[in-house]
């Protein structure tokens, strides 16, 4: 592990861990954005410029703001009186810990063949566009359909129901 990696990984982990364990929901979201920004920086370090900027645009600019709106509209900002963890938190924590142990064990056992870093790929945004329009055009269209469906669905679900006439 090199120093730049650690500099980027530490705030990412810290932000995301804080997002999951802080009491105040708004603080959680703010810590989460730090984690998302750290992830974007990691993408940049991996020479994936387009994905890194998309990550910031979508997660910090849209998902975090959506979550903020949800918090405001459900009046759940501010410190909560009840405990923040659900009644089955021991079981959940154990499952998560076991998952991490298994994954870490598998990674240490297997990832030996890919130690060498290949030369930096010359990836222009244009190539991503070309790939989206040729090789991945069907997934792209399905994605457009999915996003439209999600847009309409989300509006329909969240729409204020008209009080029924008696």
């Amino acid at each position: 592990m090199t120093i730049p990696f650690l500099i980027l990984a530490a705030p990412t982990i810290a932000g995301i861990a804080a997002a999951m364990y802080l009491r105040n929901l708004v603080h959680c979201i703010l810590a989460l954005t730090l984690g998302f920004a750290g992830l974007a920086a990691l993408y940049l370090q991996l020479d994936a410029q387009f994905v890194g900027f998309t990550q910031i645009l979508v997660y910090v600019g849209a998902v975090a703001i959506l979550a903020v709106f949800a918090i405001m509209m459900t009046r759940s900002a501010g410190p909560m009186a009840q405990p923040v963890f659900s009644s089955s938190w021991i079981k959940g924590g154990c499952v998560a810990g076991a998952v991490f142990a298994v994954l870490a064990w598998a990674i240490y056992r297997s990832a030996t063949s890919l130690k060498m870093l290949p030369p930096q790929p010359e990836v222009a945004v244009r190539q991503i566009g070309d790939a989206l329009m040729h090789r991945f055009v069907l997934p792209l269209e399905i994605m457009g359909l999915l996003l439209t469906a999600a847009l309409i669905g989300a509006v329909l679900i969240a729409m204020q129901e008209k009080p029924e006439m008696q």
Binding site: L30, L57, V60, G61, I65, V68, F69, V125, R126
Partner: protein, 393 residues
Amino acid sequence: MTPETIDRIFIIWKHWLLSYAPAGVQPLFSALLSVVPVLAVFPLLFAITTVLERKGLGRIQNRYGPNRVGPYGFFQPIADGVKSLTKEDVVPRTADQAVHFLAPLLLVAAAFLAYAVLPVGRNMVVANLNAGVLFFFAVGSLVELAVFMAGWSSRNKYSLLGAMRAIAQMISYEVPLVLASVVVIMAAGSLSTVTIVNMQASYTGIWPHWFVFTPWGFVGFVLFMIAATAEANRSPFDLPEGESEIVAGYYIEYSGFKFALFFLGEYLGMFATSGMAITLFLGGWAAPFSFLTWVPSYFWFFAKLLVLIAGFIWVRGTLPRLRMDQLMNFAWKFMLPMTLLNIFVAGTWHFMAAGSVRWLVCAVLIFAPSVLLALGLEKGKKKIAARTYRFAE
């Protein structure tokens, strides 16, 4: 000195300064030399703009504006700066201290980051990123977060209302803002701001190849500027800080230097989006006529920027504030369909042979629906009778 030397003078100075740095720190030093001018020039422009804006608004409203400090009141920004620096920094007792402190810093940092991809002159850009336009919009979305932090952490109903209004407005207008710039990306085939400007820096006869001189480019520019006005929370879209309803919106609980930082961040955001509009539609640093190319490129960028700022001031002095539902309806029912249609027109333009037929078809395709859409949206509304002034007579 030849015009070329004057055009390159900042680059020459940078190389000259760089030659004094030891080899080990040269990359760092080079980055510093690129960033520091941006950190110096645009706040200076902010200072000049505040006084110009107050004087311009004063003229529009039939008064003098600031005229006490210095010649014609032009040292007013210094007085303002001293005042905001020496004022007491009041933080509400119930405020969320850390978030309250971080919000103005994040706002200003995000605003400054946006300048990294703006080419202010030939070969004068901090970072020529491959996905420069995307970077610009990604950084712009950080502003929403800063606004929310400011509004929420103040524990004030007015500031929270202002923040929620601001976020709703910024998200709604970010969609047309991005879609309006898509036409340029389609035409240039690149997300790099430098490539986009280079494509516009050629001439037919004396006329430049700016994208604004095409039907889709003109409509795109107008839509972009409307969305940029809303993104910068400026009149007539200044509901988030509508002083007659919610006092000062999301920064009501800020005082002293933090308030000045909000002010700075807001103007820097406005300059950045204007700079982006210049880069995308108005040819960036390119001269408006081929016989004026001897004028240094950075002069043209800042001249265009000042013209756009004058436009912002004019609009602010002229138009009344919108209502919230009008604002949202305008974004989703007019701006969004028009930007989508504009993308279609840009595609048509691309696939038709060059000539006057292409011009006619594309102009009809974009202007006829815009008029029809505007008329259709007007149709359902109640007609408001001309106001009668009962007391003025």
